[in-house]
């Protein structure tokens, strides 16, 4: 018996070592930060992958990088597996590389694990600042215990007690959020304009992510405002949206429109294979995926939006302001800076979106972010941020650095 145990222990140890090896070796920078023993190997491939992901990064460093102090910035998101997660990651990584900071990413988790995870992560490394997608008082308490300033990105709390709770902390620098409510509202509106009266809606389980809840609220409010639009069915099971489509279709042949809190190829495929793609049904939903263009072209999708990760970049700027010279951009932290989505209603817009938003160079490049930082641009103000948020449109992006993007 013991011999058997030894055997499988050995086997598992090997397995374990193999994984740890990949963990420390093959992987992004943060691991390097924590255990020096593997730093060398990771530094090597850090350079390589940053090279690949941003063309203009090196000269950034040359221009301003060297003398800047090195901050360690923590970014929190539920899961980096989805598209948005990836965008967040590369955008923040881009800025941190450009400004000689070090990015640490972690999965925030939910409930008390969220609190626990934050405690652990903050214990791990001397974190200088935290950007979190979705946040609450409990975690704010932890952050202040560890004396870490926090900027909230996407999904600002709506409940009064929560808001007063978070903002009562001195280290809370305020929040930047997308107008998720409006996004939900607009989705329905555009379906309505497209003549759909009988619709379905697929959301996400309440409480999984604030932004999705807000979108759902927007959807519901529009429905209330327009009683002649009927919600045939709705569903909120995580990851099952694509399986619901056939059900909806089978039980309600009269469907005219479908709205989704988050578009993905799975949904498009389901719509395709259910033969709903013949134009009888119009769709609208947040998030852009590879098939979106095709569906705009065929006039099936009437509305889409994306580009949230810009919001995270602005939050980064706010945090950086505080870190580098203590500037607080937002004086009244109870109201977030609200930024609209990049809305898409035509195929052309989609093409632009793919060209200028979904590429290696983020919606704001390092230079443009500089404008938002008091240290480099002393006359930047809260109002400045507001107006900056105002004109966040595709057009604006193209004007700003369209030329930098080579077709």
């Amino acid at each position: 018996m013991l011999k058997k145990m030894k055997k499988c222990m050995a086997f598992l140890l090997i397995l374990c070592m193999a994984v740890t090896a990949t963990a420390c070796g093959g992987n992004t920078d943060n691991s390097a930060a924590v255990n020096e023993n593997t730093a060398s190997s990771t530094d090597a491939n850090k350079n390589t992958d940053t090279d690949t992901n941003t063309g203009s990064e090196t000269d950034e460093n040359a221009a301003s990088g060297e003398e800047l102090p090195r901050f360690k910035i923590l970014f929190a998101y539920q899961q980096y597996e989805d598209k948005l997660g990836g965008e967040f990651k590369s955008a923040i990584q881009y800025l941190c590389d450009a400004y000689n900071c070090e990015a640490v990413f972690y999965e925030s988790g939910s409930g008390d694990t969220a609190v626990g995870n934050l405690e652990s992560v903050l214990t791990a490394g001397d974190i200088d600042g935290l950007i979190s997608v979705g946040f609450d008082t409990a975690r704010m308490e932890v952050a202040s215990k560890y004396n870490v300033p926090v900027v909230l990105a996407c999904g600002f709390p709506s409940v009064e007690a929560e808001v007063s709770g978070i903002t009562s902390y001195d280290l809370f620098l305020g929040g930047v959020t997308d107008s998720d409510y409006r996004a939900g509202y607009r989705a329905m509106e555009s379906l309505y304009e497209a003549g759909c009266r009988q619709v379905t809606y697929s959301g996400l389980s309440a409480g999984f992510a604030k932004s999705h809840d807000d979108r759902t609220k927007g959807v519901m409010d529009f429905l209330e405002a327009n009683p002649d639009m009927i919600l045939l069915a709705d569903s909120y099971t995580m990851g099952k949206a694509s399986e619901d489509i056939p059900t909806f279709n089978a039980s309600f042949p009269e469907i005219e429109g479908m709205a989704f809190t988050s578009m993905s190829d799975a949904l498009y495929n389901a719509i395709e294979s259910e033969d709903l793609a013949d134009g009888s049904v119009k769709i609208a939903g947040v998030d852009i995926s590879s098939k979106t263009g095709e569906f705009f072209e065929r006039g099936i999708q009437v509305w889409g939006c994306g580009g949230q990760y810009g919001t995270a970049m602005v939050s980064w700027a706010i945090l950086y302001n505080y870190l580098i010279d203590g500037t607080r951009i937002i004086s009244d932290t109870t109201t977030p800076i609200e930024r609209d989505y990049l809305e898409i209603t035509t195929y052309e817009e989609f093409e632009d979106f793919v060209k200028y938003v979904g590429v290696s160079l983020p919606v704001y490049d390092a230079e443009e972010i500089k404008e938002l930082i008091h240290y480099f641009n002393p006359d930047i103000t809260y109002e400045g941020y507001l107006s900056h948020a105002e004109n966040y449109t595709l057009q604006d992006i193209i004007e700003r650095h369209g030329d930098k993007i080579n077709d």
Binding site: M5, C8, L12, L15, S31, G111, V115, N117, A124, G207
Partner: protein
């Protein structure tokens, strides 16, 4: 040994053989005693190394206590249920609902103790429902609890949809004091240990796990006992729910999700026999609960890339089980 043995076995080398057989047996027993803790020990060493000692910094020890609190409490209750070979998948959902009720009561200005009482009541109801279904309707508890889970989850979602319930976090900070938690933890451990090892309740539960027919033939009111075990679990979950609420300060649609799996993992990791019976030890459940927390905490401290964390977690999980699971069933395990 009786004297007849002495007559036949007096020969020199038979004596010798007998002696070293006894020695072997002794060392084996010793091993069996320490084995359950090997996994945990391994983890501690492992994490202390990879985090250059951060892992055992005082602050992190405090974190470990607060983080392991809920799960440990639940594990204590769960060990009674698993001791008679039961299980319960509904506790996550009931835990969520309980917090919801508690939160709503607090928000609408009821005194704290009422809210807490209500919270615990809800979880007890949930557990009793599971037990009732299993005992009364003859539906296997595994799946019966699934139904309870779905239902309670629905209720939680139903209410949480209209907006999260947020309590005034700062007003109830005292509920987060580590001392309070330590005290409660100690009390529960003491009571749990007493009930599990020194009373009819614990012993009968283990007997039922060992062989229900024998237990019944020995005059055990098995239905009553099983029900009681579930109530105990409910109570523990309730307490855990209360403190979780004050730790997170709000209730959303996903509150409490995954608690049941954590509980199951704790039971598994501690080497608690899945079918219950004589070999169930309370310590096993607790070791399991602590191990889970240590895993989560340590991996975060280690600061791996999110993608890697779960993979390492899985490997370590298997590794620990391999190290410390009681294998005396041999082939017969299922």
């Amino acid at each position: 040994m009786d004297n007849s043995a002495a007559i036949t076995r007096e020969s020199e080398e038979n004596q010798r053989i007998q002696q070293d057989l006894d020695r072997k047996a002794k060392s084996k027993n010793l091993l069996n005693i320490i084995i359950p803790y090997i996994g945990l020990g391994f983890l501690f060493v492992f994490f202390i190394i990879v985090t250059q000692g951060k892992f055992i910094s005082t602050i992190n020890i405090e974190n470990l206590i607060t983080q392991s609190f809920s799960l440990t409490i639940i594990a204590i209750g769960a060990s009674f249920v698993y001791a008679h070979g039961g299980t319960d998948f509904s506790i996550g959902a009931t835990c969520g609902c309980a917090q919801l009720v508690c939160g709503l009561l607090i928000v609408s200005g009821y005194p704290l103790w009422i809210a807490i009482a209500a919270c615990i009541l809800v979880t007890i109801l949930g557990a009793s429902a599971t037990a009732g279904i299993a005992l009364g309707l003859g539906v296997p508890v595994f799946i019966g609890s699934m139904c309870v889970r779905t239902t309670f989850n629905g209720i939680l979602q139903y209410v949480a949809e209209s907006g999260e319930v947020v309590i005034d976090y700062k007003q109830y900070m005292f509920m987060n004091s580590t001392y309070l938690k330590v005290i409660i933890l100690v009390v529960f451990l003491a009571v749990g240990y007493y009930l599990f090892n020194y009373t009819v309740f614990g012993k009968y539960n283990k007997a039922i796990g060992g062989n229900p027919v024998t237990a019944v033939q020995a005059g055990v009111k098995h239905k009553k006992l099983i029900f009681a075990a579930y109530v105990a679990l409910g109570l523990c979950v309730g307490v855990a729910a209360v403190f979780t609420l004050f730790r997170t300060g709000k209730v959303t649609g996903t509150t409490g999700s995954g608690v049941e799996f954590n509980m199951m993992m704790a039971i598994a990791l501690g080497g608690f026999p899945m079918r219950g019976g004589e070999r169930s030890r309370l310590s096993a459940a607790i070791v399991g609960a602590v191990t889970i927390t240590v895993l989560a905490n340590g991996l975060q401290l280690w600061g791996l890339d999110p993608a890697t964390i779960n993979c390492v977690k899985g490997v370590l999980f298997v590794l620990i089980v391999a190290l410390s699971y009681d294998r005396s069933d041999g082939k017969l395990i299922s």
